[in-house]
């Protein structure tokens, strides 16, 4: 059995850590284990988490401040929810559950997955789309490990397609909205990492599929 490449493992870990970073802040979140892991794996792919770490540090453990910020940016806020993390808001007229949600759902279905009924999440929520990249990343690792070239190729293609069609078209618009609306430095820093990583991963996948 072939050992997995560090790059492939790192990208899986990055996606997982970013999902953690986008989660609603908790005491555990403030303990920063996820951030330490993210910093380490980002380094492997040539990205840095220093700005994000500094932003979290600057909060001096004020969990409520970050919860207020998360709520106003991503859930409900005054004035209005500022940077809803749903593709449809940016790519289909501002409402939820537009064409991008259907597009994402069909990709999940193709992979034998659906959005869990208890997750209270829409298919085109940023964290759900990142989680689908985790799933595809695992499938990629498995295929590679088993030496299943056809499956490996298929998973890399699906990853590329999902990134190109479902994530990259709106992530910059979302990042921009976060930057414009944030009161704290944390979420703009996180949004910049998300965008930078997705672009990096797209380049990496392009390289891999060309091989």
């Amino acid at each position: 059995m072939k050992a997995p490449s560090e790059q492939d493992l790192a990208r899986l870990a990055i996606y997982q850590a970013l999902i953690k970073g986008l989660a609603y802040p908790s005491e555990e979140f403030m303990a920063q284990a996820w951030l330490a892991a993210l910093a380490k794996v980002l380094k492997i792919v040539g990205l840095a988490a220093g700005e994000l770490a500094a932003a979290l540090q600057a909060l001096n453990g004020d969990l409520q401040a970050l919860q207020v910020e998360h709520t106003r940016l991503f859930i409900n806020g005054v004035p209005h929810v500022l940077a809803p993390p749903y593709a449809s808001v940016y790519k289909d007229g501002g409402q939820l559950m537009g064409q991008p949600a259907e597009h994402a759902l069909r990709a999940y279905r193709e992979a034998g997955l659906m959005v869990s009924a208890t997750a209270h999440a829409l298919p085109d929520h940023l964290a759900v789309e990142l989680e689908f990249m985790v799933h595809l990343g695992r499938e990629t690792l498995d295929a590679d490990g088993l030496g299943d070239a056809a499956q490996l190729e298929l998973m890399r293609q699906r990853s590329t397609r999902f990134l190109d069609e479902c994530l990259l078209p709106w992530v910059a618009l979302w990042r921009q909205r976060v930057e414009e609306s944030a009161r704290l430095a944390f979420y703009p820093a996180l949004a910049r990492i998300v965008e930078a990583w997705l672009k990096t991963d797209a380049q990496y996948l392009a390289t891999m599929t060309q091989v």
Binding site: Q16, P79, M114
Partner: protein
């Protein structure tokens, strides 16, 4: 996905040293949002269709939601709905955008900013449902035990579970919007015809003469009434509309009569006079099914068209001619519903409503084809039919903060008064109130919302269950996000549709966000408050629906096979006995007399008369594509009417130096609002008309915020004593009994 393969990769993962391995410490391997299709349990309905019943307004039109890839792409009217005929109105078709509104309340939240007020950011944070319910229950329990249950106010519709919730707590204060909407019709029908509230079924379709006073049903997009009136017109019916403003219904009428606001009562008394004294009434019907005709005849002796003409500014011959046409063109009907001349808009509206019932009775159209038809919707079991409800605390029947119990005919109908709530809270009369639970009632629907905000700021705790972050949500301590009607299931027995008594099926989409229906939330709060005896084990909205299906001897599958409706044809057999003490329709209403009110409609001028200071009557109207204050956050509808306006008669405006689009103040004794002027010919020179529903100040509504102004700011609140002094059994909020001045900014 192969579980075996995943195990393998996890093992590989752990073998790694360095950076990637470190990530496993926090990252785990499970998926949080996505799940294999086979293990999913209840799934998003992805492709296909669901049956639904619209709840944008109270009409309840059946529809089909078409799904593609898990989303509702569009709605179509359900062709099995005999009344709505397979169509919805513009509001109904637009309703799907409420479901997908990004501003929706998505999770329970609590405020972190203790300051409350207009423009104050609550500093919301997301919390769990457990925490939200604990918070509400703890606060309600504390207040119930220290000040008594009456110190908790519930504001919302008198729906089964909401009634159960308030009565279980033992508070008498379940406040609904009735006295701003239809309390006058309710009380009059109770006293004269039904012994309970008004009937909501009207057979416009088979009418040959439709006469309206301030009613704009088709103009408000009341779907099947608009359709039925159109059918009637196509069949040769005549439509006559009395209205100070050329409403949409008036614009489609054969005749528009621009009557002076608040004087419809005089016109109607004169019509009754003509029909009785010219012997145009239906003798058989009057002899067999009514009491008090002689008293009525004597009572209206002096209410001649000549007497009425100068009051309502309609020529006597016009009044007499229309009375004759109405009495001799059979079947005829007076069109009314809510917030019309007989709705609780004026201090004399209840007398106006009496005249509506009298006229339809005199010509024998009541409960006949072409007229108002008595309740014939299918009877569905309600909570007390399926569960032995424990006795409620006696305090649930005590004095109320809105004073409703002092109106003996209105009180048993279990509704409420919006016009007295603020004054009751502020004056702490008859007692202090310290907590409120608002369910889907927006502050902008009240008279003088700024006054209510002042009152609500004196409370210790406010819980709100709603779909959108409206104004009341800005004042909430805890937010309990509600499902939309697309995310609820149930059976809907639609009284408006009762000409064709069909019960319609509402199938639920999975909730989009972490929202819960208010019924279950209220039961959870009761349990946490230590009132578990009032929480029926195993009895929920779902269980109640099962009982209702059983009572109809049908199943969801059968209803689906029948196009989403259940219905057996019921022949329209006019009733021969009614719900009054005499079992007849009582022209001379003994219930009114026994409770100290005039039993016959008696002329009484409107409360507010124009003067040099306030030369205009305020008229309030509603756009066809807007549903009150609920639709202004719709991205498409907001493009149809960006803001509301002060609509003035063009000649009058020119005299005042006001041009189209000028900014003007509209000012009453209660407050003033700034609007752009719109000049038209079709309005009396002594009136200014303002569209309702605008003026949202909740910045959390990204589209509705800041558009136009709220007409409610012009409408005064009242004390209970002021309401009692009006001598009105329906406690009318008198929403249009208001005079204003208009001047350029």
């Amino acid at each position: 996905m192969s579980p075996k393969a995943n195990t393998l990769s996890r093992r590989q993962f752990l073998k790694l040293g360095g950076a990637a391995a470190a990530s496993t410490v926090v990252l785990g391997s499970g998926l949080q949002f996505l799940t294999p299709i086979a293990q999913a349990g209840p799934s998003l309905a992805e492709d296909g269709q669901l049956y639904g019943v619209c709840d944008v307004c109270s009409m309840g039109c059946a529809f089909i939601a078409h799904l593609s890839g898990g989303r509702v792409t569009h709605l179509t009217g359900n062709s099995a709905d005999q009344t709505a005929e397979g169509h919805m109105c513009v509001k109904g078709y637009s309703g799907v955008r409420l479901l997908y509104d990004p501003d929706r309340l998505k999770y329970p939240m609590k405020r972190t900013n203790p300051q409350k007020g207009v423009g104050v950011d609550p500093g919301w944070v997301k919390i769990s449902w457990d925490e939200a319910i604990d918070m509400a229950a703890a606060k309600f329990k504390e207040i119930r035990e220290t000040l008594g249950p009456q110190a908790i106010v519930f504001v919302g519709r008198p729906q089964t579970w909401a009634r159960h919730f308030t009565q279980s707590i033992g508070t008498p204060n379940h406040i609904s919007h009735n006295n701003t909407c239809y309390s006058s019709h309710d009380v009059v029908w109770q006293a004269m015809v039904t012994g309970k509230g008004k009937s909501w079924t009207v057979d416009y379709e088979h009418s040959k003469y439709i006469l309206a006073f301030g009613w704009d049903g088709p103009g408000k997009s009341k779907n099947h009434w608009g359709r039925a009136v159109n059918h009637a017109l196509a069949n040769g019916a005549k439509l006559v509309v009395f209205d100070p403003r050329l409403s949409i219904t008036a614009s489609k009428a054969h005749e528009w009569v621009p009557i002076k606001p608040g004087t419809d009562l005089a016109a109607l008394l004169a019509m009754i006079h003509v029909i009785i004294y010219e012997d145009l009434y239906d003798h058989d019907f009057v002899n067999n099914y009514t009491t008090g005709f002689d008293e009525l005849k004597e009572h209206v002796k002096d209410y001649t068209p000549e007497w009425a003409a100068p009051i309502c500014e309609v020529p006597a011959e016009t009044l007499a001619r229309i009375a004759r046409e109405y009495a001799t063109t059979k079947p005829a009907v007076i069109a009314y519903h809510k917030r019309d001349a007989g709705g609780p808009n004026y201090t004399n509206s209840w007398h106006t409503s009496q005249c509506f019932v009298i006229l339809d009775t005199l010509i024998g159209s009541l409960d006949h084809a072409g007229g108002h038809v008595l309740d014939r919707k299918p009877k569905l079991p309600d909570l007390p039919d399926v569960w032995k409800v424990p006795a409620y605390p006696k305090t649930a029947k005590g004095p109320r903060i809105d004073g409703l119990e002092q109106f003996p005919l209105l009180y048993p109908l279990n509704k409420g008064s919006f016009s007295t709530l603020a004054e009751g809270i502020l004056s702490q009369s008859p007692y202090p109130v310290k907590a409120a639970f608002f369910w889907k009632h927006n502050l902008l629907a009240f008279p003088n919302p700024p006054r209510l905000v002042e009152a609500l700021k004196t409370l210790d705790f406010i819980a709100v269950s709603d779909v959108l972050p409206t104004e009341i949500v800005q004042l909430a301590d805890v937010v309990l996000p509600d499902n939309t009607f697309y995310e609820s299931s149930g059976l809907v027995a639609r009284e408006y549709h009762a000409m064709y008594p069909q019960t319609a099926l509402r199938e639920a989409l999975p909730a989009l966000h972490d929202t819960r229906g208010v019924s279950g939330v209220m039961l959870s709060i009761l349990k946490k408050m230590g009132l578990g005896d009032y929480v029926p084990e195993g009895m929920s909205s779902k269980a109640l629906m099962e009982a209702q299906l059983k009572a109809l001897e049908t199943t969801v599958e059968e209803m689906r096979a029948n196009g989403g409706v259940w219905g057996k044809p019921i022949e329209l057999k006019p009733k021969t006995e009614f719900g009054t003490p005499s079992k007849k329709i009582e022209f001379y209403a003994t219930l009114l007399k026994d409770n100290g009110y005039p039993p016959l409609p008696t002329w009484k001028p409107a409360r507010s008369e124009t003067s040099g200071n306030y030369p205009f009557h305020l008229l309030i109207w509603r756009r066809p594509w807007e549903r009150m204050t609920q639709t202004q956050n719709d991205p498409i509808v907001s493009g149809f009417s960006h803001e509301n306006r002060a609509t003035l008669n063009a000649q009058m405006a020119r005299k005042l130096g006001i041009a189209e689009g000028d900014l003007v103040w509209v000012e009453s004794t209660a407050g003033k609002i700034k609007l752009k002027a719109a000049l038209i010919q079709g309005i009396r020179p002594d009136c200014v008309a303002v569209e309702h529903g605008f003026g949202h100040w909740s910045r959390a509504l990204s589209i509705a915020y800041g558009r136009g102004a709220n007409d409610g700011d012009l409408i005064p609140t009242h004390t209970v004593e002021q309401q009692l002094a009006e001598g009105d059994p329906a406690m009318s909020a008198m929403m249009e009994d208001v005079v204003v001045k208009v001047y350029k900014v």
